[in-house]
């Protein structure tokens, strides 16, 4: 049984990595300037100085790296939140965590915090906003010692509304320079010129993935409820604290770099659970890989569908995610 399971898991991982490689190569090749797949390696090795080389290295490759880190992060954050809350509908966006992070980043833009403490101001404020919202949603949804899923989702949606209203308020009172920055960033794009931010989001997502993997058994136990998990020897309070921090870190980093990209954390974990089952040992890593490929493909679509204009990638994920949300809501296992 174990051998069969390991074989199945390895096969899944190989397939997901192949999909990721195909998606990445397509991302390199497809765009307003088409670069044939066969030429890519040649250009990367020998084409220094050519226009194609700077398109690949300066624009497309960083974009793919960001898509991998952010798609993986958001999908992983969704998996962790769904595991902790035992609810397939929660994810960074539906719980208002993305909204909190975006409010944090807007405050940074308006109060020019980045000029005082450097570029790190964006991820830090995103993380702080995300963490604050998770804490609020969690404490507000506990009634009489039990977590009420419907209260939690509604609280999350309301916090999202409040956060976006506050963002609009900030936009209304801000200077036109800041306004441009906020609008540009809120649209949600994987275009990020700052190499430090790219590095931070990459390291952050990798750290989140590794730490989550250490908690995969605890997440499996939490599926039975907090009491039962504790009876199986899991320190539930500590585990939840760590996972809360990781989920806000992943969301905060993603939002500070790419704005709000909705529903990646809903679509991918749901799809992966259907394919590979609910064991977090494989679910965590396959959600990460799946989320990475998914966001690259959405980005290719967003870049090309009304070329030469670009759609914000959040538009694509929002449409797909909204439909998937309604579909999951109709499933018989989902009780609100």
């Amino acid at each position: 049984m174990l051998d069969k399971k390991i074989r199945q898991w390895i096969l899944t991982l190989i397939i997901l990595v192949i999909i990721l490689i195909i998606a990445s190569l397509s991302g390199l090749a497809i765009g307003s300037t088409k670069i044939p797949l066969t030429d890519i390696i040649d250009i990367l090795l020998n084409g220094k100085g050519t226009a194609e080389y700077s398109i690949l290295m300066g624009i497309r490759l960083p974009r793919i790296i960001i898509a991998i880190a952010i798609g993986g992060s958001l999908s992983l954050a969704g998996t962790l939140l769904q595991g902790m809350f035992r609810n397939p509908l929660v994810e960074p966006y539906t719980l208002g965590i993305s909204g909190g992070a975006s409010l944090g980043v807007c405050l940074t833009i308006v109060f020019s915090l980045h000029t005082k403490i450097g570029i790190m101001a964006y991820p830090i404020s995103g993380f702080a906003g995300a963490g604050l919202v998770i804490f609020m949603v969690y404490t507000l949804s506990i009634r009489g010692g039990a977590l009420k899923p419907n209260t939690m989702l509604l609280t999350g949606v309301m916090i999202s509304f409040v956060a976006s209203s506050l963002v609009m308020l900030l936009m209304a009172i801000s200077k036109s320079d800041d306004l441009h920055n906020i609008v540009f960033w809120i649209m949600g794009s994987l275009d990020e010129p700052n190499i430090t931010l790219i590095k931070i989001v990459c390291y952050g997502s990798m750290a989140g993935l590794v730490i989550s993997l250490f908690h995969c058994h605890n997440l499996n136990a939490l599926a039975l409820g907090d009491e039962q998990a504790a009876l199986l020897g899991v320190d539930t309070a500590k585990t939840k604290k760590i996972l809360f921090i990781i989920a806000s870190l992943l969301t905060g980093l993603s939002v500070s770099v790419a704005g709000i990209i909705m529903f990646v954390g809903l679509i991918i974990p749901h799809f992966m659970r259907m394919v590979i089952g609910s064991d977090h040992r494989i679910l965590i890593i396959s959600s990460f890989l799946g989320g990475a490929s998914f966001l690259i493909m959405c980005d290719i679509f967003a870049r090309t569908v009304i070329s030469p204009l670009e759609l914000p990638v959040g538009v694509i994920t929002g449409i797909i995610g909204g439909i998937v949300f309604i579909y999951i809501l109709g499933q018989k296992q989902v009780r609100l």
């Binding site: 599926a223 039975l224 504790a230 020897g233 089952g277 609910s278 064991d279």
Partner: protein
């Protein structure tokens, strides 16, 4: 009859008061009893008398307000969470397990034995899971999602999960409620077999007095009015018309089961019904 000398004592409850801390009222007070190796002790009492609260306190879900709980002579609050879960296994009334299959669910019972950084289960873990899938007659359910099996099957599978924990003490909260008699018999016979063969100490909350009488070595009868133990001892000492009347405030007739010679409780319809209109 199995001997119950003090050195075989698994669980010792001393002068325990328990209740939910928020209400600040002890539901139960001055609770004293022991459970020995290979002994099955049943807790009986009316609805709301605190049977489940007592079980939750002993399984450390709720902290006791007063008194001590000793597991194999060591105070339970001093035993680490992980070690405790290799010694006690608990089957609560309502089980939920999201999307996992029955086999994955039972395998979680081996979690307390996983070493730090252990990623995969060992062959021993898998063998134990299969052994209890077979013992509980649930082998054919192993790949079915837990949430799609029936109530009786959920109970059986939950007991299998508790047994793969290889506990010395098994705590069960009404494992037979809402089940038909075939499932009731299957579950209690399984527990009886485990206690006989493996010497597991069993503490069980039961609603059905006759089932408790038939299967238990010792009964504990809780009185909701006095919030403490009304009587404890062998079934024939506890199940008397006087004690049952006192605790349940109901008239019953008690006869001996002709086969097991355990006491058996009968209700009877009231003969002298007062007309409603008078």
């Amino acid at each position: 009859m199995r001997e119950t000398t003090p050195n075989k004592t698994i669980l010792e409850v001393k002068n325990l008061s328990c209740g939910y801390s928020k209400t600040n009222i002890s539901i139960l007070q001055n609770i004293d009893f022991t459970v020995s190796k290979g002994e099955m002790v049943s807790i009986l009492g009316t609805n709301g008398s605190g049977k489940t609260t007592l079980l939750k306190t002993i399984s450390s879900i709720i902290s006791p307000a007063k008194g001590k709980i000793l597991l194999q002579g060591e105070e339970i609050k001093n035993i680490s969470l992980k070690e405790r879960s290799t010694k006690t296994a608990v089957v609560m009334q309502f089980q939920n397990a999201a999307y996992m299959t029955v086999e994955e669910y039972i395998l979680l019972g081996r979690l307390p034995y996983f070493k730090k950084f252990q990623f995969f289960e060992t062959q021993k873990d898998i063998d134990l899971v299969h052994k209890y899938l077979e013992l509980t007659n649930t082998m054919e359910l192993k790949d079915v999602p837990f949430n799609e099996i029936s109530g009786g099957e959920k109970q059986l599978v939950s007991i299998a999960r508790a047994l793969v924990q290889e506990p010395v003490l098994l705590l069960l909260d009404e494992p037979t409620s809402h089940l038909d008699i075939s499932h009731q018999a299957q579950i209690l016979n399984l527990i009886n077999q485990m206690k006989e063969q493996l010497g597991i100490a069993v503490l069980i909350v039961l609603h059905d007095i006759n089932l408790a009488s038939e299967y238990s070595d010792t009964l504990i009868l809780i009185n909701k009015g006095t919030r403490t133990i009304q009587a404890k001892g062998k079934p024939e000492d506890v199940i008397t018309e006087k004690l049952i009347k006192k605790v349940y405030n109901t008239d019953v007739y008690i006869k001996e089961n002709p086969i097991s010679s355990k006491p058996c409780v009968f209700l009877s319809k009231k003969e002298n019904i007062v007309p409603m209109n008078q």
